[in-house]
Amino acid sequence: MAKSQSAALDRKKLMADPVMVGTIVVLITFLTLFILYPLAILLVDSFYGGEGFTLATFQRILAMPTFIRSIGNTLKVGFLVGILSTIVGLLFAYVEVYVKLWKIVGGLFKVVSMLPVVSPPFVLSLSMIMLFGKAGIITRQWLKIYDNSVYGFWGIVIVQTLTFFPVCYMMLKGLLKNIDPSLEEAARDMGASRWKVFATVTFPLLLPGLGNAFLVTFIESIADFANPMIIGGSYDTLATTIYLQITGAYDKEGAAAMAVVLLCITLGMFIVQKYYLEAKTAATLTGKASRGRMLIADRSVTVPLTILCSLATIFVIMMYACVPIGALFPTWGYKFTPLTFKWFGQVFTRYHGLQAFRDSFVLSLIAAPITALLSMIISYLVVKRKFKAKGFIEAVSMLAMAVPGTVLGVGYIRGYSGGLFHSANWSIFADAVVENGKVIQEAGALHGLFPNGLLGGVYGSAAILIIVFIVRSLPTGTRSGISALRQIDKSIEESAYDMGADSFKVFMTVTLPLIKDSFLSGLVTAFVRSITAISAIILLVTPSVYLITVQINEFAEKGAYSIACAFATILILITYGSVLLMNLFIKYFGTSRKLKPEKVKKAKTKRINIQVIKEG
């Protein structure tokens, strides 16, 4: 059987749609240039040593004891953080879904799941140092411990667990809600105790989901840069080692090889998580629960669980609250009164605050709509259309999810600092060589056009920061876009197509209006992620651009915690403000209101779930 005719016809039909073809070409070019190419160049650089294939770079880095130690450190931290976050996340999710809660506790849970979204990735490290460090409020002022060290292994583990457990909480909450209560009721009915039901029914059903949550946090922890940077002290992880290899040792080949190692680890885990565990989770937990669950009201269960969770919640909130408060003390650790706004003043008067906020804000504001639109287009193509390159587009945009920011940053340095494929070195781009006033070698034919090689001008400009913002937020946007689009009946778009609309018209008049909410939340998520990003950015930022997160990181490393806190507080206000703005906007202009008039009340209390997965 030959399917050649239908393939040829499908191709012809596609070609009859120039907007669609153009979009696909642009997308493929973008994904290839800014995701595949930087990663490929890392591989090439680490295996290519002047005159051909070599393992010398790898032999060199593997001989470095610091590098070997950092691999061990990274895996140890990641493993423990993965386990702890999953346990804490499960506890919170179970309590929320199964236990009758006081209203206020439920509200606290929402705050906890929201905080990591709106705050920059490393504020918890700051508050950890400020509360429990050598000069910490709790350790020194209150408990009178003068030599407590939070730096190192435990510091990273605690901070990362607190940062990442809300991710697990949100994931597991969704899964628990999908368990059909009648399964557990059947077990209870046959005489199992509550604990027995959990151990023999709920837990086994949840197991693949737990594995999934564990791996997701594991990857997050490994890829995290900012927390180990601030609180790690001399305890280096892979991400920080790579950073130091570039900024400290100026060893770009070595850093590239290290980045390859880090990428292999995260990619391997990502593949297990994506193709094995996610499929298994979907297989055991299918569809929605048939009806509501009888919540546990038994006081011997509710009271201890509620107290436990509330304490954990209050601890987390205290950690975050420490940031704005810390920015008000005259001298942290020594002088607490009178409260002062002098640090906020200094942010703007002495430390380029205005410029930093302007740059961060403008760059994120440019990146966000592009990201949101790109991810919606990708989701539309992946879910609703069929064409040859679809697999490529889907795979590459998901691949970006597994790439740690540090790796991407090194890839961009290697890939673009000398132009595309180091094209600045090619003879046609080369500058003239002049010796003693005599031209020894003519300038390359294209030197005038591209003095830094192909695309060489991108490196060091603000444009590359915007591109990094886009690439870093694209996978989450695409993922939520795909799940939103899957819920829309395919025949709605087919009918519009049938009425005579071309792909562009269908996308603009049908698809986009139907996923307006998802588009908006994608927009804000991209904005928030961009303005709080650091890991790839810190490697690419040049002195001409000030970014808030880079400033915070700098001050935190110097020990200027108050000024770092002041920066962080304003940043949190901006991000929280934008999320509030989005919720308001959706409430009044969102599709949910127009489409479900009978459910307006519900829509009012509905909050859009922003992707909580952050980069570090």
Binding site: M1, A2, K3, S4, Q5, S6, A7, L9, D10, K12, K13, A16, D17, D489, S491, I492, E494, S495, A496, Y497, D498, M499, G500, A501, D502, K505, T509, V510, P513, L514, T591, K594, L595, K596, P597
Partner: protein
Amino acid sequence: MSKEKKGVRLDHISKIYQDPKTGKDFYAVKDTSLTIEPGSFVTLLGPSGCGKTTTLRMIAGYESPDEGEIYLGEEAINALTPNKRDTAMVFQSYALLPHYNVFDNVAYGLKLRKVPKEEIQKRVMKILDLVELTGMEGRMTNQLSGGQQQRVALARALVIEPSVLLFDEPLSNLDAKLRVSMRTEIRRIQQEVGITAIYVTHDQSEAMALSDNIIIMNKGVVAQMGSPQDIYYHPNSEFVADFIGEANFLKGTLEKMDGSHAILNVEGHPTRVPAKAGMTPGAEYTVVLRPESALLKDEGGLPCEVVLSCFMGSYQNYHVKVGNSLVKLTDYNPKNKRIYQVGEKCSLVFDPESVHIL
């Protein structure tokens, strides 16, 4: 409508799909040739997986055929995208645009065609009047009942005045009563507009009530095409006979020919049936007997024994055994008739003209 009516012709069309489990290719539609006359109402009928929806989607342009060519009127349309084909589809799930009201849904296709505003207004209102939805144009589609939504979908398809109207099981989401009234409605509108319509369904009564011609499909090929009467009374295979209405199959060997009739030996008894061409003595033939075309009598036909006798209101339902074969019968209006009980021996009587030999 002023437009010229167009027919549809399928010329040796095949569509190959891949089985997602085994990864093997199979024919969803195989070497199918059809001619649909301009202005006629044709139903594609068959069990699920027979290729009827695939055929429809190939005509609409969502799927591309692997072999053969599709013609709309005289024009080959294989390479045209759905938006360039002069067809309009009514979907099973209605597929109304949920963010538009009724008027905007119907006007959507006209706006795309850049029809002037006043004319859009006029044409939409005219069509809404035809589907009896006048006064509803400001409603959002989720404020309509299923039947009303289906009318909007129909209006939306009609308003762009396509050459061919395609229906993909449009009534299967409605309840039984509404389905009956909607199908009369669809037939009325199609007759009024005089448009060519191709209708996919697995519901035989829908096919009977609507169609000028029925195309029965099975396993990717056309099993039979003909008028409803033709298909019911003269099925060409056991599959068609069984799929349309209920059918009993009696096997018998040909004893001799008797003019235009044949004498078959059915379970040891000579039975007179209308002959078909090219019958040979001694060969086995199958006779199709509809449940309503035979009666139970005390004597005078094939001897049988009652194994089930059940009162159903408008008819008495019998299962009887003729030799080794089971025959199902429906005896309408059973009041004041002799009712045979289970275990009784009696006789199966039918008019030779009411049976059909395969």
